[in-house]
Each structure stands twice: as structure tokens, then as C-alpha cells.
């Protein structure tokens, strides 16, 4: 394999020997599907007929007017079936699972969006599914847990470690080392051992391909800037990939700044310059870790961004100065959510709202000639409990109390 699978100094394969056959098989199949045009067509066909692709690129007229500077466009990944971009990757990996003759999929999930997408795909494609989710995230995103179970997936709440996304990944790996003969691990983001970062990017690149066509149709030119939130990095790589050669397009990845740079409660690996190169979870990248190599605690208001590592592809693109990294703080994100809802009639996920929060902070420095595209990776319905809490909405609280009483009375 040699340097295949590396992006600059990042990436690679660091897995227990037992997974050798699983990765050999996966790498082989991935190469095959990349050569096979009919695979991409089948992939697109399902996305078009099942998930509503292409998703619109909405001109945000009121937000544009509100700031009075660059024209703002929103890529509507929230309109995917399942409510987030995660379904793009999952349909691709579902087809791959079938090709490999496997009958079961496992997945990790943070916000639960990848878990729901996987459960949907498994139901549709007739596969068994087990979803690993940190116990903390189960509490934060219970509506998604409910749906995963309704869809027939087994949901395992992971209590170990910090009980968030990285622990769910570890637990999925532990399942996979016993089950790889009939099970595919459908990793949900552009991280992990090769070929996952590249393969997930490949499936998600459908986002940027559409944006390019749509913006050329609408404006006759490429955008000045594209913003995307970065958890593991799949929606960001998805929207960025097509534009990598177009260096006039500035690419901005927005991480979870949590409670701030000095708080120790964030997941801004690159923007806060606190991560160091390390090897964990099967790959080499920038991890938030202590000086002895133990992973540190992370925090974000958005479960899907609350992760210690980052896509090795993005780590490299940052090093090459191709992608700029910024962070948005929890409270800035809540303000952004309010503004998007009021101005555009769109309910955004907390994850995606990080991209908006940063874009809103920078738009005053743009000109009217600029075009800004913001990737709305998912919708906010799943966050109803958290958004209501963030907004300190009293009517919602009374409603929950009323419901609680009804359940108790029964």
C-alpha cells in the first residue's frame, strides 16, 4: 500500500491485524466502484428517487438584505430524506455492502443523523443494522434514537470513555473485529483508516458537484467563498472537493468553539491550534490530546461536531493553506439559529449553524460583488429539545411538564 492512503503526512492505516482482510476487501471494492460508471449512476439514481437530490441551492434574499454585503446562497442538504447530508454516504456504502455480499451494517453516530440515515438505508436495502452511540449523545439526541429503533436498528448506548462520538467509533471497531465476515462498518465521516476518508469524500462530493452547476446557472460564476461546519469533515469535504482546483474560491471550515479557546471545552482542533499529530481510531491526524498522547475531553452544543480528531484530508488541506479553519462558539451558534429561522424560514441543525455563525461574523467584511455559499448540512428538527433549551423557551417547558404529567397519570 505504501503511500497510498496518505494525504500529506496524514491518513494511513493503523488497525489491529485482524482487520486486514476487511480492509483489503474494502479497498479492492472501492477501487472497482470508482472505475465503474454504472455504480455512480445507480448511486445517483437512488439519491434522486429516494432522497430528493439534487437538493436546492437557495438564494437567501432576506439574509443577504440583512447584511447588505455579499450575496448569500444556502445549499440545502437539510432537504435530504433523513434530514442531513449523511444519507449520501450511507447510500453509497449500502450499495457497497451489497456488492461485498455482506448482510449487516454497523455505524457510529454522534448527533444521530448518521445513525438514522444508516437505519433508513438498512431498512430499504434489507440489511441488519447496529448503531453505536455515546450515552451522552443518546440523551442529547433522543428523537433520533427513537427513529432508529422504529426503523428496526439496534441502538447500543456506549458508556465508556466520554460516552460521545469517539467512544462510539471505538465500540463499532470492537464489533467489527468479530463480525467483519458478514458485516460492513459504514463509517459516517471522512475519518478513520484508508479508504474511509477518501471514500466518504467520494460519495459526499455529489454536494459540491451540484453546487457548482447551480451557482453557474444562477450567477454565471463561481462563489467567492464556501463555508461548511467540520465535525469529522464529511459535509465540508463533500461541498469543497469539487472546488479544490478553483483556487479563487476560498474554502472555510468551521469547528466547534464550544465555550471558547481557553475553556478546555471545545472541539476546535485546528482553529484553536491546540491539536497535535497523533495516531488513533485507525488513522493519523490532528487530535486534541495531552502531552502523553491521551485524548482530551471535547465539548460542543452540537453532538455531531463533538469529536477529538478531524479528517486527514482536511488536516492536509489546511497545512497546504487551501482550507481556512475558524471556530464558532456555542452562544454564537444559538444566535445564528435564531437569525436563520426568522429571516429565511429554515430550521437549521446546530452542527450546520456553526458554518452560518462564522459566515455571519465575516460577511460585514465582504463586498456586494462577493458570493457566499453556506452548506446547510442538516435540519434542526432533531435539536428541538436543545434549541428550546438554548432559547430558554418557557412555553416549551410547560408543554413538556404537561406531557410528563399525562404519562405519569396513565
Amino acid at each position: 500500500m505504501h503511500k497510498e492512503g496518505y494525504f500529506g503526512q496524514y491518513g494511513g492505516i493503523f488497525i489491529p491485524e485482524i482487520l486486514y482482510p476487511a480492509f483489503q476487501n474494502l479497498i479492492e471494492e472501492y477501487h472497482k466502484i470508482k472505475e465503474d460508471e454504472s455504480f455512480w449512476n445507480e448511486f445517483l439514481h437512488i439519491l434522486q428517487n429516494f432522497s430528493g437530490r439534487p437538493t436546492p441551492l437557495t438564494y437567501a434574499s432576506k439574509l443577504t438584505e440583512h447584511f447588505g454585503k455579499a450575496k448569500i446562497y444556502i445549499k440545502r442538504e437539510d432537504l435530504n430524506h433523513s434530514g442531513a447530508h449523511k444519507i449520501n454516504n450511507v447510500i453509497g456504502q449500502g450499495l457497497l455492502t451489497k456488492r461485498m455480499g455482506k448482510t449487516r451494517v454497523i455505524a457510529e453516530t454522534g448527533a444521530g443523523q448518521h445513525g438514522v440515515a444508516t437505519a433508513i438505508m438498512a431498512a430499504k436495502m434489507g440489511l441488519k443494522a447496529t448503531i453505536y452511540m455515546g450515552a451522552v449523545d443518546v440523551e442529547r439526541q433522543y428523537p433520533n434514537v427513537f427513529w432508529m429503533k422504529q426503523l428496526g436498528a439496534e441502538v447500543v448506548a456506549v458508556e465508556s470513555g466520554q460516552a460521545t462520538l469517539k467512544d462510539a467509533i471505538n465500540e463499532a471497531m470492537r464489533d467489527w473485529v468479530s463480525s467483519f465476515e458478514d458485516t460492513h462498518y459504514a463509517l459516517g465521516t471522512a475519518c478513520g483508516a484508508y479508504p474511509f476518508p477518501e471514500m466518504v469524500t467520494y460519495f459526499q462530493s455529489v454536494i459540491g458537484k451540484e453546487v457548482k452547476q447551480q451557482i453557474l446557472t444562477a450567477e454565471g460564476r463561481l462563489p467567492s467563498r464556501i463555508y461548511a461546519c467540520v465535525g469529522g469533515g464529511s459535509n465540508a469535504m463533500g461541498v469543497f472537493h469539487e472546488f479544490l482546483p478553483s483556487t479563487e474560491v476560498e474554502l472555510v471550515g468551521v469547528e466547534a468553539g464550544g465555550k471558547g479557546e481557553e475553556s478546555g471545552q471545545h472541539a476546535a482542533r485546528i482553529a484553536f491550534k491546540q491539536a497535535k499529530v497523533g495516531v488513533a481510531q485507525g488513522y493519523k491526524t490532528l487530535f486534541l490530546q495531552d502531552h502523553e498522547g491521551q485524548m482530551q475531553e471535547t465539548h460542543s452544543i452540537a453532538a455531531g461536531l463533538d469529536y477529538v480528531g478531524v479528517s486527514p484530508i482536511l488536516a492536509d488541506l489546511h497545512e497546504q493553506n487551501r482550507v481556512r479553519f475558524e471556530a464558532a462558539l456555542d452562544h454564537e451558534v444559538i444566535e445564528a439559529v435564531k437569525l436563520i429561522i426568522k429571516q429565511e424560514g429554515i430550521i437549521p441543525a446546530f452542527e450546520s449553524s456553526h458554518a452560518f455563525a462564522r459566515a455571519f461574523a465575516e460577511i460585514p467584511n465582504t463586498s456586494k460583488d462577493d458570493i457566499v455559499v453556506i452548506n446547510l448540512s442538516g435540519r434542526g428538527d432533531k435539536d428541538i429539545f436543545n434549541i428550546a433549551e438554548g432559547l430558554q423557551d418557557d412555553e416549551w417547558k410547560t408543554f413538556i411538564a404537561r406531557r410528563h404529567q399525562q404519562y405519569q397519570a396513565r
Partner: protein, 271 residues
């Protein structure tokens, strides 16, 4: 008790692992390697455990440096890794402890840990320090051979054995490749899965071990799921070393040091 005790009177500090294993073969039907997670439940207990290992003629001891993301470990070791870290165990403390026991006990010690623990200090620096404190070999399950040239080169340069692993799924071509990297001994993982649950030794396992033996130029150790005397008897004559891991920790947690002593007596008794 065991003949190994006689041998252990010799100073082992300048003997290579592979030579030591070979030399013991004539007198022991099977050699035993045990395991400790450093700092769990605490270093004092680690020390008492090692004293028992010495008393019962255990041949080699793996000292696992805790890591926050131990992907190859099952529930028992996972919890131990995390509890140790929660109690504030540091890599520095592990080195200090290892240095002490390596000087005090005439048992070859190996470090087991994950790649990031090496990477954080610098892979070569970690290997060099390990050598300096008397560590004989390293077991790093996520040092996937194709991507870990730096690790293998550092081990070779400093005379520490990088223990490679095989599995029942290792193809003949890969076996040849792993053989080219092997030094000390090869850790033959008995089954798929993580550490901790029992392995059923059947004809397929017998064939796998025989295949490892035939394909590899260094001694072999078989591990994962070895829990009782019966397993050791099964491995005698097939493998040079039987590796006992989680079971010792489970027994320690259930029955304390007295329980561990009973298990060690049973596992090492010459019949």
C-alpha cells in the same frame, strides 16, 4: 515447581528474547506470558502480581501502558485502561515502574500499548528509552506493519523486539511478509474479536497454529481467550508460549491476589 526457575537464576539482561525462548524449550513443555495493565487497580497491586508471577515461574510479562482509546481491548481491559487514566496514571509513572521491576525481577518484560503513546514522545525516543530501562520487546496492536516503518526501524536499531501479530485470517503471502518483520516471537492471535472472551480451541485452531509454526522463523506465542489449565495443555507442544491476559484480571477482581495465586498454581503445575 518449574524448571524455568533454574534458568531464571541466570542474568537475562543480555539475552535476546528469541534465544531465551529457544533455550527454555528443552526443559519446559510450554512457557507462559502474563499481562498487567499498569496502574490498575494500582501500582502496588501490579507489584504484588509480578511477585506472584516470579514465584510461579512465569516466563514473560506484558506491561500494558494505558491508553484512552484501546480499540483492540474488550470490556475488562477497556475499563481497566480508563480507570487507570481516571486515577491519574501517567506514561512517566509506567516507565518508572517498569524500570524498577525490570531491575528487580529476572523476568523479561515487554511493553504493550497503542501507537499514539509512542508517537507522543517520538517513536524512536520511546523505543530507545524502553531499551534503556530493560524492556525486551514491544506489542503495539495498531502499529499496522505497512504504515509503521518508523517503529520497526527504531526497534531494530535499538535492539528491542517489535512483536508482530498473525490471525487465523492471515493469508500465506501475508504470513511471509510478517515473517520478514518478525523478531523475538510472533503473537498468534487465536481468534477474531477483542481480548477477554473464551476461545474454543478446535481443529481449525490446531491447523492455524501449525501453519504459524511452519511459516515463521521465530518462536510463537498464542493468545486471546486463554483461561484455564485445559487451554495450556492444549497449547503445549503446539506453541512455545501461552499468553494469559484478561483472565488474570478477572480473577483478581473477583477473588483478589489469593485467587490469582490459585490460578497461577494451576496453570504452571508440572503434570
Amino acid at each position: 515447581m518449574t524448571n524455568g526457575r533454574l534458568l531464571s537464576q541466570e542474568d537475562i539482561s543480555n539475552i535476546k528474547l528469541a534465544d531465551l525462548i529457544e533455550s527454555k524449550k528443552s526443559t519446559k513443555r510450554i512457557q507462559i506470558m502474563t499481562h498487567q495493565i499498569l496502574g490498575y487497580p494500582d501500582f502496588e497491586t501490579n507489584y504484588e502480581m509480578i511477585k506472584l508471577f516470579a514465584k510461579y515461574g512465569v516466563d514473560y510479562v506484558e506491561l500494558q501502558i494505558p491508553f484512552s482509546e484501546p480499540i483492540a481491548d474488550g470490556p475488562v481491559f477497556l475499563k481497566a485502561n480508563q480507570d487507570a487514566l481516571k486515577n491519574g496514571v501517567t506514561v512517566e509513572q509506567c516507565f518508572a515502574f517498569a524500570e524498577k521491576v525490570a531491575a528487580e525481577f529476572n523476568i523479561p518484560f515487554l511493553f504493550m500499548t497503542y501507537y499514539n503513546i509512542l508517537y507522543a514522545q517520538g517513536v524512536e525516543a520511546f523505543v530507545k528509552r524502553s531499551k534503556e530501562i530493560g524492556i525486551k520487546g514491544l506489542i503495539v496492536p495498531d502499529a499496522y506493519p505497512e504504515g509503521s516503518a518508523e517503529y520497526f526501524e527504531a526497534c531494530q536499531k535499538h535492539g528491542v523486539d517489535a512483536i508482530v501479530l498473525t490471525t487465523p485470517y492471515t493469508t500465506p503471502e501475508r504470513m511471509e511478509y510478517l515473517n520478514s518483520l518478525a523478531s523475538g516471537f510472533v503473537y498468534c492471535v487465536a481468534r477474531k474479536g477483542v481480548t477477554g472472551s473464551k476461545t474454543k480451541f478446535d481443529d481449525a485452531t490446531t491447523e492455524y497454529i501449525a501453519n504459524c509454526r511452519a511459516s515463521l522463523d521465530v518462536p510463537i506465542g498464542v493468545g486471546f481467550g486463554i483461561q484455564e489449565r485445559e487451554d495450556i495443555d492444549y497449547l503445549a507442544g503446539k506453541s512455545d508460549i501461552a499468553i494469559v491476559g484478561s483472565e488474570l484480571l478477572k480473577v483478581l477482581e473477583r477473588d483478589g491476589l489469593a485467587g490469582v495465586e490459585r490460578l497461577l498454581a494451576e496453570l504452571t503445575e508440572e503434570k
